[in-house]
Amino acid sequence: MTNLEKYNQVFCETFEITNEQLAGLKYQDIQAWDSVGHMSLVAAIEDTFDIMMETDDIIDLSSYEKGKEILKKYDVEI
Protein backbone atom coordinates (compact mmCIF):
# COMPACT_ATOMS: atom_id res chain seq x y z
CA MET A 1 0.00 0.00 0.00
CA THR A 2 1.43 3.45 -0.92
CA ASN A 3 1.65 6.30 1.58
CA LEU A 4 -1.17 8.08 -0.27
CA GLU A 5 -3.39 5.03 0.03
CA LYS A 6 -2.57 4.75 3.72
CA TYR A 7 -3.24 8.47 4.23
CA ASN A 8 -6.59 8.25 2.45
CA GLN A 9 -7.54 5.18 4.41
CA VAL A 10 -6.89 6.99 7.69
CA PHE A 11 -9.30 9.78 6.70
CA CYS A 12 -11.93 7.38 5.36
CA GLU A 13 -11.87 5.12 8.40
CA THR A 14 -11.70 7.91 10.98
CA PHE A 15 -14.53 9.95 9.50
CA GLU A 16 -16.44 7.11 7.83
CA ILE A 17 -16.33 8.79 4.41
CA THR A 18 -15.38 7.71 0.89
CA ASN A 19 -12.31 8.53 -1.23
CA GLU A 20 -14.49 10.79 -3.40
CA GLN A 21 -15.07 13.13 -0.44
CA LEU A 22 -11.40 13.69 0.34
CA ALA A 23 -10.33 16.38 -2.15
CA GLY A 24 -10.79 19.83 -0.62
CA LEU A 25 -11.98 18.43 2.71
CA LYS A 26 -11.43 20.91 5.56
CA TYR A 27 -11.68 20.83 9.36
CA GLN A 28 -15.33 21.07 10.44
CA ASP A 29 -16.61 20.62 6.86
CA ILE A 30 -18.28 17.44 8.04
CA GLN A 31 -19.78 16.58 11.41
CA ALA A 32 -17.26 13.83 12.10
CA TRP A 33 -14.30 16.21 11.75
CA ASP A 34 -14.95 18.14 14.96
CA SER A 35 -12.34 18.65 17.70
CA VAL A 36 -12.69 15.11 19.00
CA GLY A 37 -12.60 13.71 15.45
CA HIS A 38 -9.52 15.83 14.84
CA MET A 39 -7.65 14.19 17.70
CA SER A 40 -8.74 10.75 16.52
CA LEU A 41 -7.38 11.65 13.07
CA VAL A 42 -4.06 12.74 14.59
CA ALA A 43 -3.82 9.54 16.60
CA ALA A 44 -4.53 7.46 13.50
CA ILE A 45 -1.96 9.35 11.40
CA GLU A 46 0.67 8.95 14.12
CA ASP A 47 -0.11 5.28 14.40
CA THR A 48 -0.06 4.66 10.65
CA PHE A 49 3.18 6.51 9.92
CA ASP A 50 4.87 5.83 13.27
CA ILE A 51 5.46 9.48 14.11
CA MET A 52 4.67 11.84 16.97
CA MET A 53 3.32 15.17 15.77
CA GLU A 54 4.19 18.49 17.38
CA THR A 55 1.29 20.46 18.84
CA ASP A 56 1.79 23.25 16.28
CA ASP A 57 1.33 20.75 13.47
CA ILE A 58 -1.78 19.33 15.08
CA ILE A 59 -3.25 22.83 15.12
CA ASP A 60 -2.15 23.47 11.51
CA LEU A 61 -3.70 20.26 10.24
CA SER A 62 -6.69 22.14 8.88
CA SER A 63 -7.41 20.20 5.70
CA TYR A 64 -6.79 16.98 3.82
CA GLU A 65 -4.25 18.77 1.60
CA LYS A 66 -2.50 20.54 4.50
CA GLY A 67 -1.94 17.19 6.16
CA LYS A 68 0.15 16.05 3.20
CA GLU A 69 2.43 19.10 3.57
CA ILE A 70 2.81 18.56 7.30
CA LEU A 71 3.74 14.92 6.86
CA LYS A 72 6.71 15.94 4.69
CA LYS A 73 8.27 17.41 7.86
CA TYR A 74 8.24 13.92 9.30
CA ASP A 75 9.85 12.44 6.16
CA VAL A 76 6.58 10.96 4.98
CA GLU A 77 6.09 11.68 1.28
CA ILE A 78 2.51 11.39 0.13
Partner: protein, 255 residues
Amino acid sequence: MLDGKNAIITGARSGIGLAILQLFAKNGCNCWAVVHRDDEEFLNMIRQLEEVCQVWIKPVHIDLGSSDSIKEGMKDILKEKHSIDILVNAAGIVSPNRLFSMTKMEDVRRVMEVNFFSAIELTQLACRAMMRQRKGSIVNIASIAAWGEDTSQMEYAASKAALVIATKKLARELGSAGIRVNAVAPGLTQTKMLDVLENDAEDQIKKGLGLHRFGTPNEIAEVCLFLASDKSSYVTGETIKVDGGGTDLRLSISK
Protein backbone atom coordinates in the same frame (compact mmCIF):
# COMPACT_ATOMS: atom_id res chain seq x y z
CA MET B 1 -10.38 -5.19 38.68
CA LEU B 2 -7.97 -4.22 35.90
CA ASP B 3 -7.42 -7.55 34.16
CA GLY B 4 -5.71 -7.13 30.80
CA LYS B 5 -5.52 -3.34 31.00
CA ASN B 6 -2.33 -1.35 30.49
CA ALA B 7 -1.36 1.60 32.68
CA ILE B 8 1.30 4.28 32.69
CA ILE B 9 2.25 5.18 36.25
CA THR B 10 4.65 8.04 37.00
CA GLY B 11 6.61 8.28 40.22
CA ALA B 12 6.48 4.51 40.40
CA ARG B 13 9.70 3.99 42.28
CA SER B 14 8.56 5.06 45.73
CA GLY B 15 5.76 6.26 47.98
CA ILE B 16 2.24 6.48 46.59
CA GLY B 17 3.35 5.77 43.01
CA LEU B 18 4.99 2.52 44.05
CA ALA B 19 1.91 1.47 46.04
CA ILE B 20 -0.23 2.13 42.96
CA LEU B 21 2.12 0.07 40.78
CA GLN B 22 1.95 -2.85 43.20
CA LEU B 23 -1.81 -2.72 43.66
CA PHE B 24 -2.52 -2.37 39.94
CA ALA B 25 -0.24 -5.34 39.16
CA LYS B 26 -2.03 -7.41 41.81
CA ASN B 27 -5.26 -6.54 40.01
CA GLY B 28 -4.02 -7.88 36.68
CA CYS B 29 -2.85 -4.63 35.13
CA ASN B 30 0.26 -4.41 32.92
CA CYS B 31 2.28 -1.32 33.78
CA TRP B 32 4.81 1.06 32.37
CA ALA B 33 6.62 2.24 35.49
CA VAL B 34 7.86 5.74 34.78
CA VAL B 35 10.93 6.51 36.86
CA HIS B 36 13.76 8.99 36.60
CA ARG B 37 16.27 6.26 37.31
CA ASP B 38 16.13 2.75 38.70
CA ASP B 39 18.37 0.42 40.64
CA GLU B 40 18.79 -3.30 41.15
CA GLU B 41 16.44 -3.34 44.14
CA PHE B 42 13.64 -1.75 42.12
CA LEU B 43 14.22 -4.02 39.13
CA ASN B 44 14.16 -7.11 41.35
CA MET B 45 10.92 -5.99 42.92
CA ILE B 46 9.40 -5.53 39.46
CA ARG B 47 10.53 -8.99 38.33
CA GLN B 48 8.98 -10.59 41.42
CA LEU B 49 5.77 -8.67 40.93
CA GLU B 50 5.59 -9.76 37.29
CA GLU B 51 6.01 -13.38 38.26
CA VAL B 52 3.53 -13.37 41.12
CA CYS B 53 0.87 -11.31 39.33
CA GLN B 54 1.38 -12.71 35.80
CA VAL B 55 1.60 -9.26 34.22
CA TRP B 56 4.35 -7.30 32.50
CA ILE B 57 5.94 -4.25 34.10
CA LYS B 58 8.36 -2.16 32.08
CA PRO B 59 10.47 0.61 33.54
CA VAL B 60 10.45 3.75 31.39
CA HIS B 61 13.09 6.37 32.13
CA ILE B 62 11.74 9.89 31.91
CA ASP B 63 12.99 13.12 33.45
CA LEU B 64 9.67 14.78 34.19
CA GLY B 65 11.37 18.15 34.30
CA SER B 66 12.18 17.88 30.59
CA SER B 67 9.63 18.08 27.80
CA ASP B 68 12.04 16.35 25.38
CA SER B 69 12.46 13.46 27.80
CA ILE B 70 8.67 13.13 28.19
CA LYS B 71 8.21 12.99 24.42
CA GLU B 72 10.97 10.43 23.97
CA GLY B 73 9.54 8.24 26.73
CA MET B 74 6.04 8.41 25.29
CA LYS B 75 7.39 7.56 21.83
CA ASP B 76 8.93 4.41 23.27
CA ILE B 77 5.63 3.48 24.92
CA LEU B 78 3.58 4.16 21.79
CA LYS B 79 5.97 2.13 19.64
CA GLU B 80 4.97 -0.97 21.56
CA LYS B 81 1.47 -0.70 20.07
CA HIS B 82 -0.29 -1.73 23.24
CA SER B 83 -3.47 0.08 24.21
CA ILE B 84 -3.04 2.78 26.86
CA ASP B 85 -6.02 2.33 29.12
CA ILE B 86 -4.91 4.20 32.22
CA LEU B 87 -2.55 7.05 33.06
CA VAL B 88 -1.72 7.80 36.68
CA ASN B 89 0.19 11.01 37.25
CA ALA B 90 1.64 10.20 40.66
CA ALA B 91 5.07 11.83 40.48
CA GLY B 92 5.54 14.79 42.75
CA ILE B 93 8.29 16.70 44.45
CA VAL B 94 8.59 19.29 47.18
CA SER B 95 11.26 21.93 47.37
CA PRO B 96 13.10 22.73 50.61
CA ASN B 97 10.68 24.01 53.24
CA ARG B 98 11.28 27.73 53.60
CA LEU B 99 9.48 31.06 53.46
CA PHE B 100 8.32 32.23 50.04
CA SER B 101 10.53 35.31 50.35
CA MET B 102 13.52 33.00 50.58
CA THR B 103 12.49 30.61 47.82
CA LYS B 104 14.45 30.57 44.58
CA MET B 105 12.40 30.95 41.42
CA GLU B 106 14.18 27.93 39.96
CA ASP B 107 12.75 25.84 42.82
CA VAL B 108 9.27 27.17 42.09
CA ARG B 109 9.65 26.36 38.39
CA ARG B 110 11.03 22.88 39.05
CA VAL B 111 8.07 21.99 41.31
CA MET B 112 5.58 23.29 38.75
CA GLU B 113 7.39 21.41 35.95
CA VAL B 114 7.33 18.05 37.69
CA ASN B 115 4.04 18.30 39.59
CA PHE B 116 1.91 20.05 36.99
CA PHE B 117 3.36 20.54 33.50
CA SER B 118 4.68 17.00 33.16
CA ALA B 119 1.28 15.60 34.12
CA ILE B 120 -0.41 17.81 31.55
CA GLU B 121 2.07 16.94 28.80
CA LEU B 122 1.79 13.22 29.49
CA THR B 123 -1.98 13.55 29.50
CA GLN B 124 -1.93 15.31 26.13
CA LEU B 125 0.22 12.59 24.59
CA ALA B 126 -1.54 9.63 26.21
CA CYS B 127 -5.02 10.86 25.46
CA ARG B 128 -4.33 10.81 21.73
CA ALA B 129 -4.08 7.04 21.99
CA MET B 130 -7.06 6.92 24.35
CA MET B 131 -9.16 8.96 21.91
CA ARG B 132 -8.52 6.39 19.24
CA GLN B 133 -9.68 3.68 21.61
CA ARG B 134 -12.62 5.91 22.63
CA LYS B 135 -11.87 4.93 26.21
CA GLY B 136 -9.42 5.73 28.97
CA SER B 137 -9.03 6.74 32.56
CA ILE B 138 -6.62 9.35 33.87
CA VAL B 139 -5.96 9.70 37.59
CA ASN B 140 -4.01 12.65 38.94
CA ILE B 141 -2.48 12.57 42.38
CA ALA B 142 -3.22 15.99 43.85
CA SER B 143 -3.04 16.80 47.56
CA ILE B 144 -5.11 18.40 50.28
CA ALA B 145 -2.47 21.14 50.03
CA ALA B 146 -4.46 22.28 46.97
CA TRP B 147 -6.98 23.91 49.31
CA GLY B 148 -4.27 26.07 50.86
CA GLU B 149 -5.18 25.31 54.45
CA ASP B 150 -1.97 23.60 55.51
CA THR B 151 1.52 24.99 55.79
CA SER B 152 3.09 23.27 52.79
CA GLN B 153 5.16 25.41 50.45
CA MET B 154 3.38 27.84 48.19
CA GLU B 155 4.69 26.27 44.98
CA TYR B 156 3.72 22.75 46.04
CA ALA B 157 0.19 23.82 46.99
CA ALA B 158 -0.16 25.89 43.81
CA SER B 159 0.98 22.99 41.62
CA LYS B 160 -1.56 20.66 43.23
CA ALA B 161 -4.36 23.25 43.00
CA ALA B 162 -3.57 23.58 39.30
CA LEU B 163 -3.90 19.82 38.98
CA VAL B 164 -7.32 19.85 40.66
CA ILE B 165 -8.64 22.51 38.26
CA ALA B 166 -7.04 20.78 35.26
CA THR B 167 -8.79 17.56 36.29
CA LYS B 168 -12.16 19.31 36.19
CA LYS B 169 -11.52 21.09 32.89
CA LEU B 170 -10.02 18.08 31.10
CA ALA B 171 -12.89 15.87 32.21
CA ARG B 172 -15.32 18.17 30.42
CA GLU B 173 -13.29 18.23 27.21
CA LEU B 174 -12.28 14.60 27.06
CA GLY B 175 -15.56 13.11 28.24
CA SER B 176 -16.98 13.11 24.73
CA ALA B 177 -14.06 10.91 23.68
CA GLY B 178 -14.85 8.41 26.42
CA ILE B 179 -11.95 9.47 28.60
CA ARG B 180 -12.50 10.04 32.30
CA VAL B 181 -10.22 12.30 34.33
CA ASN B 182 -10.23 12.24 38.11
CA ALA B 183 -7.91 13.09 40.96
CA VAL B 184 -7.11 11.84 44.42
CA ALA B 185 -6.08 14.34 47.06
CA PRO B 186 -4.16 12.52 49.77
CA GLY B 187 -3.78 13.99 53.22
CA LEU B 188 -0.64 13.33 55.21
CA THR B 189 0.59 9.96 54.06
CA GLN B 190 3.44 7.81 55.35
CA THR B 191 6.01 8.55 52.66
CA LYS B 192 9.43 10.15 52.56
CA MET B 193 7.73 13.52 52.15
CA LEU B 194 6.91 13.35 55.86
CA ASP B 195 10.56 13.19 56.82
CA VAL B 196 10.38 16.94 57.49
CA LEU B 197 8.11 16.33 60.48
CA GLU B 198 9.42 16.37 64.02
CA ASN B 199 7.98 13.74 66.35
CA ASP B 200 6.12 16.33 68.47
CA ALA B 201 4.59 17.94 65.43
CA GLU B 202 3.61 14.51 64.10
CA ASP B 203 1.70 13.65 67.28
CA GLN B 204 -0.03 17.04 67.32
CA ILE B 205 -1.12 16.75 63.69
CA LYS B 206 -2.45 13.22 64.18
CA LYS B 207 -4.68 14.47 67.00
CA GLY B 208 -6.23 16.94 64.57
CA LEU B 209 -7.14 14.23 62.07
CA GLY B 210 -10.49 12.46 62.17
CA LEU B 211 -8.88 9.02 62.25
CA HIS B 212 -5.96 10.13 64.49
CA ARG B 213 -3.35 8.62 62.17
CA PHE B 214 -1.64 9.23 58.86
CA GLY B 215 -2.73 7.37 55.75
CA THR B 216 -0.70 4.63 54.13
CA PRO B 217 0.32 4.71 50.47
CA ASN B 218 -1.81 1.61 49.92
CA GLU B 219 -4.92 3.39 51.21
CA ILE B 220 -4.36 6.08 48.59
CA ALA B 221 -3.69 3.44 45.92
CA GLU B 222 -7.03 1.72 46.67
CA VAL B 223 -8.93 4.87 45.71
CA CYS B 224 -6.81 5.20 42.56
CA LEU B 225 -7.71 1.62 41.69
CA PHE B 226 -11.40 2.46 41.96
CA LEU B 227 -11.01 5.56 39.77
CA ALA B 228 -8.89 3.74 37.18
CA SER B 229 -11.31 0.82 36.94
CA ASP B 230 -14.70 0.49 35.29
CA LYS B 231 -16.24 0.49 38.78
CA SER B 232 -16.15 4.28 38.51
CA SER B 233 -17.43 4.41 34.93
CA TYR B 234 -19.77 7.34 35.66
CA VAL B 235 -17.30 9.35 37.72
CA THR B 236 -15.29 12.09 36.03
CA GLY B 237 -13.94 15.51 36.92
CA GLU B 238 -13.89 14.61 40.60
CA THR B 239 -11.16 15.03 43.17
CA ILE B 240 -11.57 12.64 46.07
CA LYS B 241 -9.96 13.68 49.33
CA VAL B 242 -8.34 10.74 51.09
CA ASP B 243 -7.24 12.44 54.27
CA GLY B 244 -8.62 10.46 57.19
CA GLY B 245 -11.17 13.17 57.86
CA GLY B 246 -8.41 15.65 58.58
CA THR B 247 -9.16 19.31 58.37
CA ASP B 248 -7.02 20.97 61.03
CA LEU B 249 -3.68 21.17 59.26
CA ARG B 250 -2.77 24.68 60.27
CA LEU B 251 -0.13 23.32 62.60
CA SER B 252 3.37 23.94 61.41
CA ILE B 253 4.96 20.99 59.68
CA SER B 254 8.31 22.66 59.25
CA LYS B 255 11.34 21.78 61.36
